[in-house]
Structures are given as structure tokens and as C-alpha cells.
Symmetry: C2
Subunit: 206 residues, 2 copies
């Protein structure tokens, strides 16, 4: 009867540990620089065990990317939180800032993948992301037509939002260095978030 057994707690736990370890190692060393031995050690198991759960390094990488993708889509949905231009943009920028802070490793892996030319996630760019952009582009154009926003190429706005928010994950080390060697604390980060929102909205609100 091929019942879906609610069984596999061991498998679930090990796969989760491996995915988390992989996220750490891929984020720090990149795809090529990460070794399966390092990932396995980081997850507290011998290398052969890693290959029992994930046949190939690329397969593991794909699995990590999928988690990242879901986080991205989740944050992206906050764009639709409101019909009001400023509210929608604020919510979206805040969501992306929070994502960068909560999941810096995922953000870095994502950026590295994009920088490599998206060899793994090209189809996501071609399908889901293209559709997401097309739909929100239309919303932005409507807001412009309604006089809510200054006339701007919507994509330019998206790229600015993506880049600026991800900067707080990608360049966390540089930012820490310029912050006296310490990462931004919560207060400083919240201040930065407010100022990013204010600056971008100030730049595009009509």
C-alpha cells in the first residue's frame, strides 16, 4: 500500500544537519572551494555518510540552493502586502533587509550563484523570477501612472533594492571592519534599515 511512513526521523535529521553544514561551507568557500569532507566534518559525520544522503556535491549544492530560493520567494511575497506604493515598497525592502540579516549565508550563496552566471538556477531566472518581475513591473508602472511614484524604470528600482539589501549580508565583513571590527548590533541594523527605506522611498515617491 506504499503508505507514506511518518518514519524517517534519522534521515530527516541527518539531511538537515548536512544542509546546514553545506550552507556554512558553501557560503564561506564557494562551490569549488567547498570540499565534501569539510561539509561532512562540519555536520559531525564521516564523508562517506554524506555521500549516502547526497550522491554528489552538486546535488547537495542544488538542495541548498532550493532552500535559499524558498526564502527568497517568501520575502518576495511581501511586495504584494499592500496596494499602496509606499507601503508595498517599504514592506518589501524591510523583508529583504530582515532576510539578509536572518540568513546571511543563504544570501551569500545566492549572490555567488548569480555572479557565476547562475549555472544551476538559470531556469528559475527564466521562469519564476521573470514572471515575478513582469508582474511587479506592471504594478510599479501603474503607481507611476497614478502619480504615486516618479517615472523610473521599474527594473532599476528592483536592482537597487536587491543590491542594497543584500549588501548587508554579502559585505557583512567589510561593514564590520568599518564599524570598528564589530558586526552591526540590532540597533544599528534597525537604523540602517529605516534609512535605506527612507532613502529609496524618498528617491522614488512622487
Amino acid at each position: 500500500m506504499l503508505e507514506r511512513k511518518p518514519r524517517p526521523t534519522i534521515r530527516e535529521e541527518n539531511e538537515k544537519a548536512l544542509l546546514e553544514a553545506a550552507e556554512r561551507v558553501f557560503a564561506k568557500h564557494g562551490f569549488a572551494g567547498a570540499t565534501t569532507a569539510a561539509i561532512a566534518r562540519n555536520a559531525g559525520m564521516p564523508k562517506a555518510n554524506l555521500h549516502y544522503y547526497f550522491a554528489t556535491k552538486e546535488g547537495l549544492y542544488r538542495a541548498v540552493i532550493e532552500r535559499v530560493l524558498n526564502a527568497w520567494l517568501n520575502a518576495a511575497s511581501s511586495f504584494d502586502a499592500s496596494e499602496d506604493a509606499c507601503e508595498a515598497l517599504s514592506a518589501y525592502i524591510c523583508a529583504k533587509m530582515d532576510l539578509a540579516r536572518a540568513m546571511p549565508l543563504a544570501s551569500r550563496i545566492w549572490s555567488a550563484e548569480i555572479m557565476r552566471g547562475a549555472p544551476i538556477i538559470q531556469d528559475f531566472l527564466d521562469t519564476t523570477l521573470s514572471q515575478w518581475v513582469a508582474k511587479r513591473e506592471a504594478a510599479v508602472r501603474r503607481w507611476i501612472a497614478a502619480g504615486k511614484l516618479k517615472p523610473i524604470e521599474p527594473k532599476v528600482l528592483f536592482y537597487m533594492i536587491w543590491a542594497t539589501t543584500q549588501q548587508y549580508a554579502n559585505a557583512a565583513h567589510e561593514i564590520a571592519t568599518l564599524n570598528g571590527g564589530e558586526p552591526l548590533d540590532d540597533a544599528a541594523f534597525e537604523r540602517a534599515k529605516r534609512q535605506v527605506v527612507a532613502t529609496i522611498l524618498g528617491g522614488v515617491a512622487a
Copy 2:
């Protein structure tokens, strides 16, 4: 008499070819993913020849980074082009946009190095960059005090400028995908540049 011979054209030519090839390969595959064999092939010479000019892969990488650093410093100097806040910021943003377009490989290598935690250029962050930021931070605060700019943490502004401009190099592939598969042509890029300048200035000008 130890005269400086105007001789070494062979050495100069080969080192240049290697540095350019290394820039391409490092930009595409990252430090770990780049192989000295691939770089040498890309420069049109056998691997042993590469190691004759650059003893180690890391030494070659350092040399590439140094070129990138000079480009960065060169663009950074345009911040001081004017005493006027808007003029200075415009000039700086334009210079960084042009840099991203003219040297996308260098930009990507730079970002990758920052994302890795700047293992090679940490001392640059600690010294030159810190000083650069401190000085321009003071300029921004003066402009704010003079009522030229809205009150903003200067670093937040710098991070936004750095991230947004570099986006056009780092995410060139993603941008091309969302542009129908074609990279931005000169006209589209100039339009984007103007809108980036206008949006950031609109966001911070008082």
C-alpha cells in the same frame, strides 16, 4: 651601473597576458575554482610558463587584486571632484557605474573577495579604505549640517552606492536574463545610470 633597462618587453607582455587571463578565469570560477592550467591556457602558454612568472596561484591572485584596487581608488577620487554635495555624489556614482561597466571582471573579483571575508585585502580595508570612508563621512556630515542633505548615516549611503553600482557588474547575467537575454546596450545602461543617480540624490538631497 645597474641601469634600468627599457628591455623587458617579453616579460611585460607575458605578465600582462597572464594578468588579463587570470582576471577572466578568477572572475568566472572564483579563487578556488580557477586552475593555473586554465589561466595559462587562456593566456596561450603552457602552465609551467605561468609559474615562471608567478610562483604561486595566490601571488597571481594578489597581483590581480592590486590592479582592481587601483581602479577602485581611481574611481573613488571622483568623490572629491566638487565641494557641492549633489555634484560630488553624482560624479562619484557615475564613476562607479562606469567602472562596473568598463571592468565587470574586476568588480566581480572584488565582490567575491569581500564576500569571502577579504582574506587577501584585509589590510586595505583596515587602512586605506577606513581612511577614505572617515574622510568622506566627514564631508557628508558637513553637507548635512549645512542643510544640503537629509540627515543620514553616511555609511548607509556609501553602502547603497557601492552595492547598487556594483550590481550592474556582479549581476550582469541576471540583468541580461531579465532584459530578454541580451546585456544592456549603451543606451539602456546610460538610462539606468541617470536613474540611479536621480533616485539616490532624490533620496538624500534636502
